[in-house]
């Protein structure tokens, strides 16, 4: 018995070392980020509190660029409003004889505005933390966009904060299409440059030119159709058997991310119920 104890004491540093290495490896290889407990992510109350304090100072730094962007966006929306008003006037004339109802594409979506309180771009798997959580109606697997385009998808939520899987994360694949065509592919980040991602699995016969806009396809029900994602870069096709892979310059600037909008789909419950119905049948 005595020898057993002295054996353990003599080799204790190896036991302690192996124990902590095993614990770290368990964390490291736990795989799916959806299974992480909220306490082990930056959405926990201590970490999000620290990030909130930091953000209350740092959010002033980018205001000039944000203001410029907003002005541009405002101008674009202004002209769109004028164009739409014109269309409504024309439609009104026709609608006299026809009691047609025109639902907007975005009518089923609401947007929750949130501030980014932590963000990374240099790691292999990047995540973003925002200051809104389940108390504000945010749930996992909701899409997140900002004024320029797609940002990511909600992953873990705390009551007042949520973690987002950034577009700059190989765990996140986004169904996209080239604006004006119906061919769609899957957008994924290759881990090198935070301004560039790859659009994969695009059918070979797709017609495109450098500078074409890439938008969300709307097939996943996470993002509405037509949210901008990026632009086709110089014509660099990599030939696969039947598919193209394009390099896409992302329209969202992940280095200065500050205000984002979470897409809340009012028909989400219905979609989920439908999908569950389908799987039950099979």
């Amino acid at each position: 018995m005595h020898e057993l104890f002295s054996f353990f004491i003599r080799w204790s540093k190896w036991f302690v070392f192996v124990f902590f290495v095993a614990l770290s490896c368990a964390l490291l290889f736990s795989g799916n980020p959806y299974q992480h407990h909220v306490y082990l992510t930056s959405a926990n109350s201590v970490a999000s509190g620290i990030y909130n304090m930091r953000n209350s100072v740092a959010s002033y730094f980018d205001l000039r660029e944000i203001n410029e962007d907003l002005n541009l966006r405002n101008a674009a929306l202004e002209s769109e409003v004028l164009a739409l008003r014109e269309q409504i006037r024309e439609a009104d004339a026709r609608i006299q004889s026809d009691t047609m109802h025109l639902p907007g594409v975005l009518a089923q979506y609401n947007f929750v505005v949130a501030h980014v309180i932590s963000n990374s771009i240099a790691r292999a798997h990047n995540y973003i933390t925002i200051n809104k959580g389940s108390d504000d109606g945010i749930a996992p697997e909701m899409g997140v966009i900002d004024r320029n385009g797609v940002v990511g998808i909600v992953n873990v939520t705390g009551p007042h904060s949520a973690r987002i899987i950034s577009l700059l994360n190989p765990h996140f694949k986004l169904s996209c299409k080239i604006k004006g065509s119906e061919h769609f592919g899957s957008l994924v980040w290759d881990g090198n440059d935070p301004t560039v991602a790859l659009l994969e699995e695009l059918p070979r016969h797709t017609v495109f030119a450098p500078g074409d806009t890439i938008v969300t396809s709307g097939y996943s029900a996470v993002f509405p159709e037509g949210i901008p994602v990026g632009y086709v870069m110089e014509d660099q096709r990599r030939h696969d058997e039947n598919f193209f892979t394009l390099r896409v310059r992302l329209s969202t600037d992940f280095t200065t991310l500050s205000n984002v909008q979470v897409v809340v789909d009012s028909l989400r419950a219905e979609h989920i119920a439908l999908q569950a119905y389908d799987t039950d049948k099979q």
Binding site: K13, V16, F17, S30
Partner: protein, 168 residues
Amino acid sequence: MPVISFILKALVIILAQVVIFNNIVLLNVAVPFVFIYIIMAMPVTWSTNVSVAAGFLIGLAIDICSDTPGVNALACTVLAFARKPIFHLYVQRDEDLTGLPPSVRTLGVPVFMKYALTMTLAYCMMVFTIDAFAIFSFWRMLSQIVCSTAFTFVIIYALDAIFSSKRK
């Protein structure tokens, strides 16, 4: 008392890492891992059990705040375990320095520089090798290791000047 001041110092450095240094990336490759200074500055007389446990907790705190589950915890655990052998590469066992926290003041400039550089290089190699399991690109990994080691080393050297002069 030294334990309490050590914990306070550790908290300050972790907070600085999370709030400031995590946001700094030079040339898209150089990342400062300033918090490994806490592991470097543990007195060498501490038993390996204590320093490995402390290393794990430091890594875990950083992991939680920066959403890198396990990466820093694993690297910090290994670094804390390897700390004593690395220290004795440059300092003989019979020299009477071992009770003090390693710093420029206790070791002198050349020895501390060698010690800090070895520790930083070891850490950067571990972290970016773990990262490479997700996305492997050899030249990117190599430039990340070299640039981050240099950047981290410079900041840690400056940090050491701040922390060890305060206690004079």
